[in-house]
């Protein structure tokens, strides 16, 4: 059965999780996407995407220990699962197979 492909925003979110090394939760993910892309993203869209990715088994989540400062709260942290990493690689390969040779043509048209 063919595996369901990743949407563009799903790839963006997965890549942001990979770029962040530890203590990865909603707030730094949104910051990372905005910092790298230079675009504002809807915060809710990121959380919905994370939830959907978790349902697909591409990310896993757990509640962290409370932070050290007074009144520190536990966070819902996420990490990319091996299946998520494979899906990212597949998506990239899929797109690269289509991009192969196309960039030269695009350059020539300029």
């Amino acid at each position: 059965m063919p595996r369901e492909g990743l949407g563009e925003f799903e790839q963006v979110v997965l890549l942001a999780v990979i770029h962040l090394k530890e203590h990865v939760y909603g707030v730094p993910i949104v910051d990372e996407i905005e910092r790298r892309t230079g675009r504002a993203v809807a915060r809710a869209a990121v959380y919905i995407t994370l939830r959907r990715l978790e349902e697909k088994g591409l990310v896993s989540s757990w509640m962290s220990e409370p932070t050290g400062e007074p009144g520190g709260k536990a966070r819902r942290c996420v990490e990319v699962t091996p299946a998520g990493r494979r899906a990212l690689k597949d998506s990239r390969a899929f797109l690269e197979s289509m991009w192969h040779g196309a960039d030269l043509k695009l350059k020539a048209e300029r």
């Binding site: 809807a42 809710a44 959380y47 939830r51 536990a74 966070r75 819902r76």
Partner: protein
Amino acid sequence: MTVQPPAPAKRWLLRTLPRDVRAAIVLDLDEVFQQRVEADGVSAARRWYWRETLSFSWRFLCERLTISPSTLRLSMLDVKLASRMVTKYPGLTFIGGLAIATAIGVTVIGFEITHDLSNPTLPLPNSDRVVSVQMWDGRWGSPESRLMFDLARWREAQSFDSIGGYQTVERTLVADSGEGELVRAAEMSASGFRVAAVAPLLGRTLIDADEDTGASPVAVVGYRLWTSRFNSDPNVVGRTLHLGSVARTIVGVMPEGFGFPVSHSLWIPLTRQDSIERLSGPVLRVFGRLTPSATLVAAQSELAAISARQPWPARVAPTPLTPRVMPYASGIVPLGYIRRAYLLQSVLVLLLVICCSNVAALVFARTATRQNEIIVRTALGAARSRILGQFFVEALALAGIGAAVGLGVANATIQWTMKWIWSSGSPRPFWWDDRIAPVTYLYAGALTLIVALLCGIVPALKGTRAGVHAGLQQGSGRSASLTFGVGWTGIIVLQIALCVALLPAVLAQGWDAIRAQASGVGFATSEYLEVTVDVEPGSEPRRPALYRDLELRVRREPDVRGVAFATAFPGMSHPRLPIEVDGDPMTDRIRPQSFTANVAPGFFSALDVRPIMGRIFVDADALAGRQVAVVNRLFVETVLGGRNAIGRRVRFASNGTPNPWMEIIGVVPDLGMSALRPEEGIGLYSPAVPGERFVEGMAIHLAGDASAFAPRLRAMALEVSPVLQLKNPMPLNVVGRADQIGVRFFAIALAAVAVIGVILSSAAIYSLMSFTVSRRTREIAIRAALGANPRRIVGEIFSRVAMQIGFGALAGVAMVLIARPQSAREVWLPAGLALFMFIIGLCACVVPARRALRIEPSDALKDVG
């Protein structure tokens, strides 16, 4: 100090987001909110929080409905056109808006009540794990509550973190000043506090050792009691609390808002009875906190397995008892209430459907007048879907206005009603929130969309169907005439039938309520202080003596003119029972029903009531247990047909052992036994000693302010004995109002809705009939031009209308007759309403028919061909 995000927005998020992510999202938003406060200031951060709240709610709703947010964008032009339509047709906006406001308002009230009763959110940690446990008796279809034995065994269940039980008891709380006040306390197992999982504000909660027989008596007080009775004393722990005849040490204070199990502000330990037999002991409600991994079904199976292993005592035959584990509120709120709430909700949805069909009919009539506009827009290239979209937005604007007004009225009604209910002394469950829940707003939003679809799309589909192109070819909308099909005719007939069958009864109830409110009960009830007198459990044998002692002390007071004891006083609810009259053949066929009251001998004298005939009760009647009765004037007129009552014998009808006959010894005036329908207040009084046969109501006739006597009465009761309990002393006029106001309020509210229903139905029938005849203007004119007799034409028009309305009216009257009306009013009111609608329908035909007949024959024939 840390600035907090807007609390309503946070609450909204916590209620609307999916359970698995809501906590994480709120925490993350809090963090970003704090960053925004530092960067942009408090106001900007709050605005940002609200924007994020809306964004999250909207996107998660779309996610749930599996639709893309971008597909629901509306054109601003549609919105502008819709606003114009609202002002261009003020009549339709008013009638339609009123109908939708009424329908959505009452439906929202019904939904909110149903939701609060059946599925509330408890303000406790992990409240979804807090459950009620019942032992269901299959023989009677009701729960068995003597559960002390089973509760002790259920404590070993692995599905529960904690399991406990309680019973509500009433005790006189004696203050240091010597004043007494009746308070409700939860006699609860210590595990109840573990189930609630709320830490005390001061001291400790109950512990298992407090439940031991012989343990030192202790109490935990609630925040309200702590502030009102102990002036928020921080050193209250260790002080003594006199509850009835027992002195208890206060060991803790619970925080504000804590009222677990229901509405309690005082907790005392439930003494453990290890040697108790099964199905004996106090009446308990049982609750528990499930472990995180347990389910309702698994917990129920485990409890059933434990109960099945327990032996039955010799005196009890094994009975089919099954434990049931259910959401917490379902075990607290009586099942009958929840069923009634669902029934009410169903009726209200039916009302909404009727209102929608009316508004849809009105919109359809308006659509018919806009045929030319539709044709021109089609000619200019507008797709049918585009026109449908515009009609939908127009209907949405109308429905939105109606929904906003309806929600506002519903909110105000709920706030007012709940405020009144709580102020009248009803216990307020700790989870009850008077505000409309977010889920109810979502429900109202969904209703608004459905109403807009029904009232916008359905008429528009018909209006844009075939015929438009034909009209376009002729450059006029005349040939593309819209007509009502079988569906609309069916709706009209059904609506008239329902109106005729249902609305008159509702109107009559409302009228009775208004009339009863205006009339009194025949004497100055404001001069009487009414109170229910009770004694602590265990002191029941002393009841008559204690009552007598209290009565003697009260009578010695200078302002007291008289004292009366009864089960109920004029203006209050009285029980109604079927009766039989000795030797009356009528009673074999019809058993009349009479309101009844057991009264002490001094009852009539204290109310300044003199007998119309015969005599009133004397002490010997009650003390010797004589089988005598006093009846009221209506009893004589209605049950005895005006014949002499003295010496006749009556008794309460029974299907089993016959009740003893009672001899009528006197007749008194009517004294408000039926507060809602005085003309049906047939009454029968029997004698009793205060404290016996439920004669626990006491009314004191005073020369001065009745309510000012209450503190003095409490002091006297305390002097008699601390086991005496006085419940809700209030002037009799206030008690009577409180007793009936709920019924009256709903009767008047439903009657108001019924009046709106009649107005709306009449408006819809008028416009539809008028529209139907208008559509036939050319046909009528041509037939007149060709020489048809105008009388015959008019007769034909009227007969068609008369057939539609008449059929609906007859169906409605038939429904009334099938329901077996109890009085003539129940027949002539529906018949009158049917006649009214008939006249409305005929009037609607007169104007367009006359206009058609006045068209010159030459003008009518010009257009042919």
